[in-house]
């Protein structure tokens, strides 16, 4: 090409741009680019031809040719982008899936209501400074009965439907603890007041029907110091019951009762409503017995090596199944021990939160 006229250059530019525009795939575009700008490309050849021109002419032609080259390069870039977009579009179309299909599942299990209730108890009593104490389920007579002032022929002892284990060589029989009170004994024997503990855990009585399970759970609390009196027992229980049930004005009633290990002793009722055949805890016409309590019997303190003239305090206990049923609306004992997946998923808790007072129970 020897014509360096403006017309010739314009014609060349138009031809090259058309070549770019007609490239219909990135491969074709690359081929066009090589054909134009490659080592043997026609624009490259034209640029090489500049060297044969007179300096004056070379300057003008060089400028014009450079502009032409930039224009073609820009066209190639633009075309490249357009082609890439088109190809991506095609790919995306090919990659289309049915997103209405169900995804991979991750099953999350449920936490059992009883440990959940225990966590709630721990959260509330923890705020009041009570630690969580534990003890064995297989107990001896001393810890389960006699240290608690439950003597062998006491009617209270006969009423407890104790599970017995075989006598040992000396004729002593261990039992499955009938309450969590032995943990109180173990605590008083092993640590000096002030004592504030709760002891939730498994308990056992040989009773099995719709309303009794041979294994059930109790929580007991013990507070021992020098000046703890019955008013503190009331204060603690009223605060606990209102926090646990989340009812600020829950009526709480204390009635005299009898337990061998407390004196004075009290049974505690909460207000409830039974109208319409449904039991709801809260203000209402009726009372619902919920726990037993009292001031630790001086003889129990003595049995644990504490001087009852110096130390005194309160204890109370309740069934965890019962308070869990009332709070979570569980109608009977079946959901607790039958491991029926239908009830577990219904009454269980997702492992999202550990109960705490400040988060709300």
């Amino acid at each position: 090409m020897r014509d360096w006229s403006a017309e010739a250059l314009a014609a060349l530019e138009a031809g090259l741009l058309e070549q770019v525009a007609e490239s219909n795939s990135s491969t074709a575009l690359e081929a066009a680019r090589v054909a134009i700008l490659g080592r043997k490309g026609n624009l490259t050849a034209k640029l090489k031809g500049l060297s044969g021109l007179a300096p004056e002419q070379r300057k003008d032609a060089g400028r014009a040719l450079n502009r032409l080259k930039q224009s073609v390069e820009a066209a190639i870039e633009a075309r490249k982008g357009a082609l890439a977009d088109r190809e991506l579009e095609k790919r995306l179309e090919a990659e289309c899936i049915d997103v209405t299909l169900p995804p991979r599942k991750m099953n999350v299990g449920h936490l059992h209501p009883l440990p959940q209730a225990i966590e709630e108890l721990v959260a509330i009593f923890g705020e009041m400074g009570f630690a969580w104490a534990e003890g064995p389920h297989v107990e001896d007579d001393f810890h389960n009965f006699s240290a608690l002032n439950i003597l062998p022929d006491h009617p209270a002892r006969q009423e407890q439907d104790t599970f017995y284990l075989p006598p040992d060589a000396e004729g002593l029989q261990k039992v499955l603890r009938t309450h969590t009170s032995p943990v109180q004994i173990r605590t008083m024997l092993s640590q000096q007041p002030p004592i504030r503990i709760i002891c939730p855990g498994r308990t056992f009585r040989s009773d099995h029907d719709a309303t009794h399970s041979p294994m059930f759970h109790q929580v007991e609390a013990l507070a021992i110091d020098e000046a703890i009196h019955m008013g503190h027992l009331k204060g603690t229980l009223v605060a606990f019951l209102r926090a646990y049930f989340g009812i600020d004005d829950l009526p709480v009633r204390f009635r005299p009762s009898y337990f061998p290990f407390t004196e004075p002793s009290a049974e505690v009722d909460v207000g409830c409503d039974r109208s319409g055949g449904r039991l709801t805890v809260g203000a209402g016409k009726d009372w619902l017995e919920i726990l037993g309590s009292g001031m630790v019997h001086p003889r129990v303190l003595q049995n644990c090596g504490l001087d009852p003239e110096r130390y005194q305090g309160f204890a109370f206990g309740m069934g965890i199944e019962r308070i869990a049923m009332l709070k979570y609306g569980i109608p009977d004992l079946r959901p607790f021990f039958e491991s029926d997946i239908r009830r577990m998923r219904h009454y269980g808790f997702l492992p999202l939160e550990v109960p705490s007072m400040v988060r709300g129970l």
Partner: protein, 797 residues
Amino acid sequence: MKFTLSWLKDHLETQASLEEIAARLSLLGLEVKGIEDPAAALAPFSVAYVQEAKQHPNADRLRVCTVEHAGGVSQVVCGAPNVKTGMYGIFAPPGSVVPGTGLKLKPGKIRGEHSDGMLVSEREMNLSDEHDGIIELEGEQTVGTPLARLLALDDPVIEIAITPNHAEALGVRGIARDLAAAGLGQLKPFDPPRIAGSFDSPIAWYIEPGAAAYCPAVAGRYFRGVKNGESPAWLKRRLKAIGLRPISTLVDITNYVTFDLNRPLHVFDADKVTGDVSMRMARDGEEILALDGKTYPLDTETLVIADTEMAEAIGGIMGGEASSCTEETVNVFLEVAYFDPIRVARTGRRLDLGSDARYRFERGIDPQSLTWGVEVASAMILEFCGGEASHPALAGCIPDPQQSVTLRYERVESLGGVAMAKERQIEILQALGFGVDDAGGYATCRIPSWRPDIDGEADLVEEVLRIEGYDKVPVTPLPRERYLPQAVLTPSQRRRTQVRQTLAWRGLEEVITFSFMDGRQAELFGGVPDSLRLVNPISGELDVMRPSVLGNLAAALQRNADRGYPDLGLFELGPIYRDDTPMGEPWLASGLRHGLMVERRWQGDGRPVDAFDAKADVLAVLEVLGAPTENLRTSLDAPAWYHPGQSGQLRLGPKVLARFGILHPKVAASYGLKDAAAGFEIFLDRIPPSKAKGKAKAPPEISAFQPLERDLAFIVDRDLPAESLLQAARGAGRGLLSQVRLFDLYDGKGMAENEKSLAITVTLQPKTGTLTDGEIEAAVAKVVAAVGKSTGGRLRR
């Protein structure tokens, strides 16, 4: 304990309403279990007068009556043969429910005549089976008198629960005394009559020396010429109201005094008794046919009341059939005894024989009742049965402990929390029958003979508070020992929550199963020591303490599978039982998965659970708890309840932290599981505590240089545990080597029969500069050499 309101008022002068009395009883510790008002069901029915009874125009057997009743005058159509003009009957108004039929009356027409209400029969009122005619009242009556009052049924029955310490409330008088002390009226005076008697009792009491400890005293009296017929109506009514069947006057009197004054009695037909009567211990082999019609074997631990021939009664529990009083009884010998509570309780338990007498004696009766009990019973016998009384007969010495307890007045506040003047305390104690000596700044209180339960100063505080009312105890917050609560959980208690959350997030459902299991199935889990076999299990399926939780989980999985949920994983945090010591109850996290781990779905088939699911559960828990999982070794010695070839134990040094694997097919089959089950048992107590102190951490080691990976495939012996190869690789080139991961196992085509290929990725993490090819080659060569040396593995080319 049941009693009626009118009975209570025999002892208590009160204006209080039934509701007030009931509410106060509960607050006194005599919890009201129920109030039954027999008048309630009869409330709509009252006396009516038949002004006229004329023939029904359309029916031969019916009369159309004009009836005057409480609500006015109504026309009633009546079919009873005995209805007639001028009679008094009982009217049931429309809207009332007839107790005998349960039907609600509606106004209607009978054969064209209006009938508004009904004249009723005894059967319709549930009074008897009489239905031949309507009730016809004799004599002049007042229209509108309630039927219940007419029948003296307007006496509510109150039932209270008796705690073991309130024996005195097993008599109506004791209940009245509490109510009076609490300000609900005046206790009426109790003046037992004094009956001298006119002759010496032909039967004498003896207490054999061996029996004196169990029956220190007995009183009695001989009656001759009595007539033992039916009791007076009021007496029968009261007994019936509290659920006792009237039998004969003599027997009814003993029952009445038992409930009225908490003074059990017994009467012998004196003509059936041979010689004198004595309290003695029974002989081995002796038997007695008791009043309940059953024969009881006696032994030398049993106190009996015997004549010279045989045992006639079981002391404090039940009389014998042979000497019982009947309608023919003419001569009677009365027994008023004091029995040792423990002896009565033991005998009653041994014979499994309960009675109202036993219930009272084993809780402790008033020993002084020997004196007045004879007189009260005598007066009733003479009044209702006639005859003649002997001089009292007495043997032994009435126990009179005369015990006193000191009450420091300030204890009512320092123990009970109630500030109370000493005068008020004394007033309460005296009202309860205590003799109070106020001297020296405290009260010396003589315990009334009917309160054997009183036990120390704290008990007196309880008595004072009980009468004053527990509602007077102020609600006092427990003092805070510090401004903010401190953490109270032990590390192992915190861990339990962490474990539960981890396992739930892994898809396992939390359960709580019994600590018991079936002893036969426990054998599958290593058996149970004899010391953990229950003597009195609830059933054969729950007769031993569980040596593993997996059995209970397998049973639960099977039940769920039967309900249509076979693909399920369960876990439980709880103890297993090794021995009967306090240390023999380690806490485990146990879990069992069954069926499909991954459900069948559109992307592919389901995948059954395998041992690695269980291993993953274990490792997840161990990692959450901060156990050094990289240092754990798997040993192939899991216990026998696991599949021998698909199980292992994870050890830290020699210590087994957990075991896992497929449940042994025999075990799974014994629980009826159809598919494989993968289980684990984690010994929570054995996992070393986290070493971290506080929450502050050292800065992380983050290298400025990129890590690089090399894949290495080794050919090794087919039975080489993969863990050995990984260990060897990890052991090589510590420092540069940051991770070794196994990504392939191949034992297919191209492998020799006794060989397999294990492929690992090693990650090299340069710390001080980019690695040269030479350094990389050297590090890889070290790994290859280490693997070769300890496993014999060679690189696969």
